[in-house]
């Protein structure tokens, strides 16, 4: 079997059985990068030397029996908003264009403890604000299924790198769909865990009450294995949750007998492409045939999720991004008169248009006179949305729907109309508002040859139900995303 065709778990097993060395695995992805990185631009930084060096160290630890986990020796890509000690971390922004962290994020440390080899940092929408990876200050990333199309965003580089064989799996972050939607557009598996599952320590914040780190990978087995490694209680993140149920791989069971699956009618209305609808409902039918109890229901409030989200996310962003002032790190303007002018000029030159748009909106909704009408109102609607999900999960184990209304749009079509772009987040965004786990996996290919994503949503801390359902569906669906399946 070609190394690049292996999943992360398959590769680790092959390394353990001495069929493949860590160095061979690293060299295989580096060679693939040489072939395709120029076209796809998945990475902001590739640390070739560091990866080769880590390969030797990790191999020694595996040989010595110190590393025995299911991901030991597997090369991974990290979204460029997670701090990596000694490795450039830009958030795809000019303002952090020269930032080299002196510490690593907890999720990255957890991966390293499990024997991961860090390949580099993947491209993203600037500060994770966008749905296409086109707002990056370091060029657009292209979709490996068709380079005329976007990979989705904001974790577009991570999703594209997995799909292009430029890594075996990747970490992304999801504030409003930023793992699930690019996973869907690039035909890979992505999971946004329950809020608090994975430490946000070292993740450069966008919307702190919504942000969550999660995996992008080749299949559901990899997803469960990665989740086991990155989920942890971390005293350095005060919203991190104590948990003793992180044995996610025990949910890799092919069985949905009696699983109650709810299909929100509101997710299948206007705006949803017929081909996406058909593929997603096809997946539901397949699960029903395996014994799941599938039922339609009214989730309600769906159309209020986007305005709620953009109010809260922009408010939190305006506050979080205040730290970029040209003093402690990052970009400082060359000419200025006094302190305030330096702040303003550094920020205005350092941030791109979408980031400025959201900082402005956030500053406005938090300003005195508007705080109650906009920000507090949004927090009240958030409570209603959470309640709607609570009611749904009293009846269902899993909610099933599309990830996005369409497959990947063409490059250059999305940024001109922000509201239209924001509408593309309609099925993913409320999951973040309610803190729920969500999983995205491929369920078909449209007539343009682009992958279609299926979304499974669970109640808080019920990732295992998602993994079990996804694993069962994956078995029914069969292999997906192999090069020979494309076109």
């Amino acid at each position: 079997m070609n190394i690049l065709d292996m999943t992360a778990v398959e590769l680790a097993a092959a390394i353990k059985e001495r069929k493949v060395t860590v160095l061979e695995a690293v060299e295989a992805v580096l060679t693939q990068m040489e072939k395709s990185e120029e076209t796809f631009n998945c990475y902001v930084t590739v640390d070739k030397e560091g990866a080769l060096m880590q390969a030797g160290e990790v191999q020694r630890k595996i040989d010595a029996g110190e590393l025995t986990g299911p991901l030991a020796g597997v090369p991974v890509a990290i979204k460029d908003n997670m701090c990596t000690e000694g490795m450039l971390t830009t958030c795809s922004s000019k303002i952090l264009g020269n930032f080299v962290p002196t510490f690593s994020s907890e999720a990255v440390l957890n991966l390293q403890k499990a024997g991961a080899v860090i390949l580099g940092k993947t491209n993203m929408d600037e500060f994770a604000m966008g749905s296409t990876t086109e707002t990056s200050a370091f060029g657009v990333t292209k979709n490996p299924w068709n380079p005329e199309h976007v990979p989705g965003g904001s974790s577009g580089g991570s999703a594209a790198a997995v799909a292009a064989g430029e890594c075996f799996y990747a970490l992304g972050s999801d504030t409003g769909g930023s793992i699930r939607q690019p996973a869907s557009f690039c035909g890979v598996v992505g999971m946004k865990p329950t809020y608090g599952r994975v430490s946000r320590y070292g993740l450069i914040a966008y919307g702190s009450s919504l942000d969550q780190i999660g995996p992008l990978c080749k299949d559901v087995t990899d997803c469960a294995a990665i989740m086991e490694v990155i989920a942890s209680h971390d005293p350095k993140d005060s919203t991190s949750v104590e948990q003793d149920d992180t044995d996610f791989t025990t949910a890799l069971v092919e069985d949905v007998q009696g699983m109650r699956i709810g299909i929100p009618k509101d997710y299948f209305g206007e705006g949803l492409e017929p081909e996406v609808k058909e593929a997603v409902l096809g997946a539901a039918k397949a699960l029903e045939e395996k014994g799941a109890i599938v039922e339609e229901f009214d989730l309600s409030l769906v159309e209020y999720a986007i305005p709620t989200y953009y109010t809260i996310a922009a408010a939190e962003a305006s506050s979080n991004l205040e730290r970029f002032d040209g003093i402690k790190y990052g970009y400082r303007t060359s000419e200025y008169e006094g302190l305030h002018n330096m702040y303003k000029k550094s920020r205005s030159e350092g941030f791109g248009p979408e980031v400025k748009r959201r900082i402005m909106l956030g500053s406005f909704v938090l300003s005195s006179g508007y705080y109650d009408a906009y920000y507090l109102k949004a927090l009240r609607v958030k409570a209603l949305i959470k309640k709607a999900f609570d009611e749904a999960f009293a009846k269902y184990d899993v909610i099933l729907g599309p990830v996005a209304p369409t497959t990947a749009p063409k490059l250059g079509q999305s940024l001109s109309d922000p509201i239209k772009m924001y509408l593309g987040d309609i099925y993913t965004i409320s999951v973040n508002l309610a803190g729920l786990p969500g999983l995205s996996m491929p369920c078909g290919v449209d007539s343009k040859g682009l992958p279609i994503g299926l979304q499974l949503i669970g109640d808080c801390f019920q990732e295992k139900k998602l993994i079990q359902t996804a694993y069962t569906y994956e078995k029914i669906r069969g292999p997906f995303g192999r090069k020979e399946d494309r076109q």
Binding site: T102, G196, L339, N341, S348, P353, M360, V381, L384
Partner: protein, 97 residues
């Protein structure tokens, strides 16, 4: 468009946001913010009387720890990324005469 953003508002928000926008950027920002607020006004359709604002989805309380220093002197690391550094301190423009 229901929400008309005035020049004064954009100036004021620019101060809050610590952003200096060009004339063209200001015009665009007025348009963008107006249309976003029109969209957000949709939330007004919902009766939220008596609903507590939810800042956190879980009943998270303050997380306390003992006030004990666990890291050593990391001044050098902290200053590593500073755009301006002198004698172990950040360099900033003169703030008062």
């Amino acid at each position: 468009m229901a929400n008309i953003i005035s020049d004064e508002t954009i100036e004021y928000v620019g101060i809050l946001a610590k952003l200096e926008l060009s004339g063209e950027e200001k015009e665009q920002a007025k348009k963008d913010m107006g249309s976003m607020l029109d969209y957000i006004d949709k939330l007004g359709e919902l009766d939220t009387q008596g609903v507590e604002p939810m800042s956190h989805v879980f009943p998270v309380k303050n997380v306390f720890r003992e006030d004990v220093v666990t890291n050593g002197n990391i001044r050098e690391e902290i200053l590593k990324n500073a755009p301006g550094e002198k004698d172990g301190m950040f360099v900033v423009p003169r703030t008062f005469e």
